[in-house]
Amino acid sequence: MNCFTAIIFYNPLEIPWQLVPWCIIPLCISVGIIYKTLRCEDIARLPVEITKFTFYVIGGLACVCLAAVAIYHLFL
């Protein structure tokens, strides 16, 4: 067990290129949790607020990505 934990925090993981865009989702969730934990007045509404915020961020990023792809294909 110690050997395994030493290896995973010592040697870098080999992440395939195809997986990299999906790595943004856990990061968005983490940012959403911290931000909404600070901002949300009612702690009971926290899960709903975090879910909404995460979808907004991921949706916004997807829109920016689509716009960039469209500009690339239409103008460049």
């Binding site: 856990p26 940012v31 911290i34 702690i43």
Partner: protein
């Protein structure tokens, strides 16, 4: 009965909090600043989120994720994660010192020339790659984004704890959410208008 009265008096008396201590606690141990201002649930949520995300980043990038010499701006962001960043930096320094002792790399390899990677820095990266501890794309970006961004989010939490402390706010806010409050306020004003 008297003891209950005494306890209630103690609870009512506001505790004087030091905002600098709240900020320092919130930085060094993520979430501790919110625990200090009696926002226990929020403190625990912040602690687990920051710690898990930071160490997922370190797992993706390995021991060289927190590197002061190669990426100073990312380093400052990573240090925002408090004890997580400091422990990670210490581990990196221990490994680096071992490599220096074994003459695998030189101290001069750490220097940057005009903020551009020098040849010695590239050689250093090659040597780290031989040891299988160098950060390689795309894991490099994932690791730095995870650790750096969550470090900055922890700084935001520290700022929030300090600000609440300065404002003299302690404990969870009373009542429901702002929207609910607004709705009840709107209802009461409508009722008053109808009465008049």
């Amino acid at each position: 009965m008297e003891s209950i009265d005494k306890n209630s008096k103690k609870m009512d008396k506001p505790l004087k909090k030091i905002w600098l201590l709240a900020a320092f606690l919130a930085w060094i141990v993520p979430g501790a600043g919110h625990l200090y201002i009696n926002r226990r649930t929020r403190g625990i949520i912040i602690f687990f989120t920051v710690t898990i995300t930071f160490w997922v980043g370190v797992a993706a990038g390995g021991v060289m994720t927190v590197d002061r010499h190669c990426h100073p701006l990312w380093f400052y962001a990573q240090m925002g994660a408090g004890i997580n960043g400091v422990v990670s930096w210490h581990r990196q320094k221990v490994v680096y010192n071992e490599l220096l002792d074994s003459h695998d790399i030189q101290q001069s390899d750490l220097l940057m020339q005009d903020s551009q990677p020098s040849d010695s820095l590239i050689n250093r990266d090659k040597k780290l790659a031989e040891k299988k501890i160098a950060l390689v794309p795309p894991g490099e970006d994932v690791a730095r984004a995870y650790t750096g961004i969550i470090g900055m989010m922890n700084m935001l939490a520290a700022f929030d704890a300090a600000l609440l402390c300065l404002m003299g706010i302690s404990g969870e806010p009373a009542g429901g959410s702002m929207k609910e409050k607004d709705a009840t306020d709107q209802d009461s004003t409508n009722q008053k208008n109808r009465d008049t």
